[in-house]
Symmetry: D2
Subunit: 144 residues, 4 copies
Amino acid sequence: MSRPTPLTRDDFPVFRSLQTRWSDNDLFGHMNNVVHYQLFDTAVNEWLIKLGLFDPHNSDIIGFVVETKCNYFSELAFPDRVAAGIRIDHLGTSSVRYGIALFREDEEIAAAQGHFIHVYVDRQTRKPKALPQNWRLELEDYLA
Amino acid sequence: MSRPTPLTRDDFPVFRSLQTRWSDNDLFGHMNNVVHYQLFDTAVNEWLIKLGLFDPHNSDIIGFVVETKCNYFSELAFPDRVAAGIRIDHLGTSSVRYGIALFREDEEIAAAQGHFIHVYVDRQTRKPKALPQNWRLELEDYLA
Amino acid sequence: MSRPTPLTRDDFPVFRSLQTRWSDNDLFGHMNNVVHYQLFDTAVNEWLIKLGLFDPHNSDIIGFVVETKCNYFSELAFPDRVAAGIRIDHLGTSSVRYGIALFREDEEIAAAQGHFIHVYVDRQTRKPKALPQNWRLELEDYLA
Amino acid sequence: MSRPTPLTRDDFPVFRSLQTRWSDNDLFGHMNNVVHYQLFDTAVNEWLIKLGLFDPHNSDIIGFVVETKCNYFSELAFPDRVAAGIRIDHLGTSSVRYGIALFREDEEIAAAQGHFIHVYVDRQTRKPKALPQNWRLELEDYLA
C-alpha cells in the first residue's frame, strides 16, 4: 500500500487560515481523521464565497460531493492553527476537483492532503449543470 | 417560560475570535444549537491555555463539565465570524462557572449566551481537587 | 452552586434507544459534553417524526431552539448504548419544553438530564405560530 | 474523472446497523459528506471491540488512520437507518485496509463506499508494531 509524498506550501496558490476546536481531539489526543474533511469543506466554501462565486442560500447551483480522499502524514491537534492550501486539480464540464493540504502552524510540509470532487447541480432540480463561465474563468487561475 | 435579556459586549472583560464551519449549518440554514457549545468549550479552553493555566495533555487537573446552559436570541450561520465574550460568573472551591456570550461579526448584542460549570479533578484519580492558587488569582480578575 | 438530583426511568413516559460514535469520545476518554445535545435533538426529532407530527422537509412549522440546558452526573462513552427518556415539561402557545434524560446501557439512574425549548415558527416567514391542535393533543399525553 | 461502480450487500461478509442524527443533515437537507467517515470509524471500531480484538482504553496497540476515501452515489439523510458493510481489503505487516459501504435502510446497492487504512502503533511509543497473531487470524476470515 504505497503512500503519496507530502506536498509543500509551494504547491498551492491560495491559503485559508483555520482554527481547531476542543472537540476535534479524539481519545488519542489528536485531531480525529474526520475533522480534516470539515476543514476541507470550510476552506473551499469560504474561498468560493469570498471569490463571489458561491452563495450557500441563493446560488443557482450547489455542489454535491461525489468523492473525497485524504492522506495523513503527521498529527494535528487543538489548539493548533491550520493553514489550508487550495488548488484546482481538474475542471470538468459540471465538476471540479479541489486539491487541499493542511499545514500545522507555520510548517512548510503538509500534515495531511487530499481532495474532494464537487458535481454542480441545479438547486431546485438537483440535476447536474454545466459550470457557469464566471466560475470557469475564475477557477482556471488556480489550476495545478 | 421567561427568557433572559441578551447581554452586550460591555458585560465581558475578554473576547476570543472564532470561526464557523460549513458543517455548523443545519437543515434550516443556520448554526445548529449544539455548535454553540463547541464554541463555548473552544473559547474557554484556548483562553485558559493562553493564560498559562491549562495544558490539555499535562495539567495536574482537568475540568469535568457538570452543567451547561444556553439561550439563543438570533441566528448565527457559516460563514459568520463570531466573538465569544468570557467572564467568570462564580469561583468555587474546586469549580468554576464560566459565562459566555456569542456575538455575530461586529454586533454589540449577544446572539446567544450561556454558561458551563467545570469541576476540576485530578487527572489520574478523577477526584475533585481544590482550584490551585495561581488559577484563583488569575480568574478573580475576570469575575462578573 | 446547587446541583439537581438525577432522575430515574420512572420519571419518563417514552424512551428512544441511541448509539454512540467513535468521535463522541474526547481527549479525556468520555463523551464530550456537547454530544449530549446531539442526542437530545436526535431523540426528540425522531420521536416527533414517528408520532407523525413532524416532517423535517415538509412540515408547515419548524422548531427553533431558544434554550437548552444539561446536567451531567456520570460519564457516558463510546461504545455505550444510551436510552433517552423524553417527557413534556411544558406546553406553551407556540413553544414546547422537552425534558430529556440519558441512561447508560441498562442503568436506572440518569447519567445526564436536561431540556430544550422549541418555539415553533412558520417554515417560510420564520414567525412564531400557535402549536397545531394535533400536536397539542398528542403531546399532552406526555406531560410531566 | 472516472467513478467506481456501487457495491452491493453481497460484497460484504459482515454488517453493522447504524443510526443517523439530526445534526448529520446539512444545509442541503442530506447527510454531510463528512459524516460518512464518522460512520466508517464507528462501524469498524465497534466491530473490532465486539470481536474482542480492540479495547479503546487498554489495548497495547491503537490504530492511526493514514488514508481515507469515500465515493458518494446517492443521498443519505436523518432519520435513515444505515447498514455498514465491512470487509478487509488488505492485511499488511502493521496495517489494515478496511473496506466499508453504507446502505440506506433495506437497499441492496451502496449509497456510499470507501476505505480507511489503519497503521497499528504502540499505545505508548506511537511507533508501528506488527499486527498481533490473533488479529491476523481473525481478520483473515473477512478478506475481500
